[in-house]
């Protein structure tokens, strides 16, 4: 009886697998070295890319510094969100705002007093 295609393929596969299992230690060692060389290659490729990271970081820092330094010279205290938050969280600041007219008068008095002293 002739073998079917499937039987032949199965038998060929089994024979092939047996030959794979019989590979000697020296050959396996060479395969291992080849694999390590390949893995070094992927690491090298990424290291090459990452070599530009410091330069990119410096460039980003410069851009951020320029943005920061060129920000608005006068910050509108009453509308800046961060300042609003600080005011809301600080009881002292609220008190100060409630008595803003008093502090303003006090400032004026101090200046006049300094003038008297001078």
């Amino acid at each position: 009886m002739k073998k079917t295609d499937e039987q032949l393929a199965e038998q060929a596969k089994a024979t092939f697998d047996a030959s794979v299992d019989r590979l000697d230690a020296a050959t396996l060692s060479r395969l291992n070295r080849g694999r390590q060389a390949a893995l070094d290659e992927i690491g090298r490729r990424d290291r090459d890319w990452m070599r530009w990271m410091p330069a990119a970081g410096v460039a980003a820092a410069v851009v951020l510094a320029v943005f920061t330094m060129r920000g608005p010279a006068e910050v509108d205290v009453m509308t800046a969100p961060a300042t609003d938050l600080e005011i809301l969280l600080s009881e002292e600041s609220i008190e100060m705002l409630e008595e803003l007219e008093f502090y303003s008068w006090l400032d004026t008095e101090d200046l006049e007093g300094d003038g008297d002293l001078g």
Binding site: A12, R22, G34, L39, I42
Partner: protein, 201 residues
């Protein structure tokens, strides 16, 4: 966008590059370790020289890592075998040119019969000597028969049968249509059945 918001956005979108690279390396290492021995035997059957086969497999591994290391791991098997098959074809082309040059200078190339299959596959895995001999003889018969197949039939048969790639992946590896893979495979099996005969084991 304020500077603080910009920094926050960058820090949120940046991927952990080092960890990703290590994970890819680990995945690729596992894939290569899983596939390398079968790939070596497939290349060896195609070129009938273990040292040349080792070089071809190493070259394929390096090219895969260099060019496709960042791809999804599911894509690696057909890509790897495509690189390997291209390497084998280039090797055969170089051999053909070399043989022509050798004939021109009347220098005979060593015969294929010098290839010692048993010496090429030593280190038995605890099998009985008679079983080992039987397997070696069966492998020699099959190896010779597969080697003598036309190139495309040999590629289709080895990738489908030995490596277990499906038709679609084999088509990618061979760079042809799925219909061609089926045709080449069918013809290969038919030829092998005729060559190896009913009593091959």
């Amino acid at each position: 966008m304020t500077a603080d918001a910009l920094v926050f956005a960058v820090s949120c979108t940046a991927k952990p590059t080092g960890a990703r690279v290590l994970q890819k390396e680990r995945q690729l290492g596992e894939f290569l370790a899983e596939v390398e021995r079968r790939a070596l035997r497939i290349a060896e059957i195609a070129v009938r020289d273990r040292d040349e086969a080792l070089d071809l497999v190493q070259d394929a591994m390096i090219k895969l890592a260099r060019n496709y290391g960042g791809r999804n791991s599911e894509e690696w098997p057909p890509l790897f075998y495509r690189i390997l098959q291209n390497g084998v074809r280039d090797w055969h082309r170089r051999q053909a040119v070399r043989n022509r040059v050798m004939v021109w200078f009347q220098k005979a190339k060593p015969e294929d019969s010098d290839y010692d299959h048993i010496a090429a596959a030593p280190d038995p895995n605890g099998r009985a000597p008679d079983e080992e001999l039987q397997n070696s003889e069966a492998m020699q018969d099959m190896e010779l028969a597969v080697h003598e197949l036309p190139v495309r039939q040999r590629e289709a048969f080895m990738l489908r049968t030995f490596e277990g790639l499906d038709v679609a992946a084999t088509a990618v590896a061979m760079g042809c249509s799925q219909g061609s893979v089926k045709t080449h495979y069918s013809r290969a099996v038919h030829t092998l059945r005729d060559k190896l005969g009913e009593h091959w084991q």
